[in-house]
């Protein structure tokens, strides 16, 4: 019989348990690997007979912990200020008042959210675009692979043989839907400062239209106007344009240099200064990134 303390001690020290049957085995293992780490021991335990008890214990502990956390959070929710109240601390701050009252004069955008995220808090959006860019880069690193010549040959032959695999219904549907979707995406993109929408949603809709086109008409016809180089150039130039124009605005604003009055007449399409070009830049970057995600997942190249 082994006492509980012995087992615990052996678990902590890494020394073998003094059990007659297992002693040789564990000693051999220990002599092979100089020391066994904690995770190795746990995984070996899972591999052996203890797996069922360990797993059920894990399940029970996980559910209990989740229930405790949720109970605490719900108990806290019951003390929160009421939903929809105008006097809530989040809604009665000066920042909200400043954003709404000075918004049109400062930014020229009638959509206060767009004015906020692209003018007052433009650093946020720059970081967000950078996150998107970094995600696209990591996905390229993880999934991109150059096809060998044989694979390319096989791919071209398959494309020729299975040309009918692109569905007729899909093709005719795409013929109607792609222009409409593209137009809607451009509308949302260009009216971001006047109505709901903006760079991210418009860019995503453009990317979705490109994906639909690719699904219906195959890779070759997409490659004609949208290949890896174009994707790369558009993405990097959009991000650089964003960073440069924002840094120009920050520089002139911080040094009290005279800014050219570019706000225009609020409510018209060409107004609100840098917000429209920034929206267009963000939109192109998002569209390229979304299509890049799709094509990388689908066929490991852009």
């Amino acid at each position: 019989m082994i006492s509980l303390i012995d087992t615990l001690k052996s678990f902590v020290d890494g020394a073998p348990v003094k059990k007659e049957d297992d002693t040789k085995l564990t000693i051999k293992k220990v002599s092979k690997h100089h020391e066994t780490s904690f995770t190795e021991r746990v995984t070996s335990m899972i591999e052996k007979g203890e797996s069922k008890t360990a797993r059920s214990a894990y399940t029970v502990v996980a559910v209990i912990m989740a229930v405790i956390i949720i109970a605490c959070l719900i108990y806290t929710v019951s003390f929160l200020p009421h939903f929809g109240g105008a006097d809530n601390p989040a809604n009665s701050s000066e920042v909200v008042k400043a954003y709404i009252e000075n918004g049109i004069h400062d930014t020229g955008a009638t959509n206060f959210v767009a004015g906020m995220i692209l003018n007052y808090r433009a650093f946020d959006t720059l970081g967000e675009s950078s996150v998107l860019f970094i995600a696209a880069t990591t996905v390229i690193i993880l999934l991109f692979r150059h096809k060998t010549k044989e694979e390319e040959k096989i791919a071209t032959v398959e494309e020729e043989v299975y040309e009918d695999k692109h569905d007729v219904i899909l093709r005719h549907g795409a013929l109607i839907l792609v222009p409409v979707t593209l137009m809607f995406g451009v509308y949302v993109l260009f009216n971001g400062h006047l109505s709901p929408g903006g760079g991210f949603s418009g860019g995503t809709i453009l990317g979705a239209a490109l994906i639909l086109y690719n699904l219906a008409f195959g890779d070759k016809s997409t490659q004609k106007f949208f290949n890896y180089n174009i994707n790369k150039v558009v993405k990097i130039s959009a991000l650089t344009f964003y960073a440069l124009s924002q840094s120009y605005m920050f520089f002139t604003g911080a040094n009290r240099l005279p800014i050219p009055d570019i706000n225009g007449v609020a409510g018209s399409l060409i107004s609100s200064g840098f917000i429209l070009p920034l929206n267009i830049g963000v939109g192109f970057e998002v569209a390229c990134t979304m299509f890049g995600f799709y094509s990388l997942f689908d066929r490991e190249e852009i």
């Binding site: 956390i69 719900i74 939903f83």
Partner: protein, 143 residues
């Protein structure tokens, strides 16, 4: 009383419940794709919580209301605004802007996780995390 408060704050309560379900999905499911879906649930729950804090009953979305001339709000005399939009008409625009940032970030990390899952599948031919761990252990023992 407790339940009444929860019903008044029903969006927050639902957000917390969905967060819990996502958390349990993340912890208990072995499949990697299910885990990623659980992560997405947790994301959307937090966004719902945040955006419902910014809602004010009886007010409209933070876009200048139809029928008002935006140009009258642009003029400033000697740096003092003569005419400003009424704050009492619009909801809080700050949570909406923050959540807008969060949605796009959640898409990018979903794509990153899925790329990692595809790589794992290419290596081990399974999406089950336990099987992947056991295969890894076997390979280590062989070496």
């Amino acid at each position: 009383m407790f339940v009444k408060e929860l019903v008044i704050n029903f969006y927050e309560t639902a957000a917390i419940i969905v967060f819990g379900i996502g958390f349990v999905t993340l912890l208990l499911n072995r499949n990697i794709i299910k885990k990623i879906i659980g992560f997405n649930f947790m994301d959307t729950a937090i966004y719902l919580f945040l955006a419902s804090k910014g809602y004010i009953a009886g007010r409209i979305a933070p876009i200048l209301a139809e029928g008002t001339d935006p140009t009258v709000y642009q003029k400033a005399v000697n740096g003092v605004l003569t005419n400003v939009p009424t704050v009492e008409k619009y909801i809080n625009p700050i949570p909406a802007g923050l959540v807008l940032t969060g949605i796009v970030v959640s898409v990018s990390f979903t794509a990153f996780f899925l790329a990692l899952a595809v790589r794992l599948y290419r290596e081990y031919h399974t999406l089950d995390l336990h099987e992947i761990i056991s295969i890894m252990n076997k390979e280590e023992n062989k070496e």
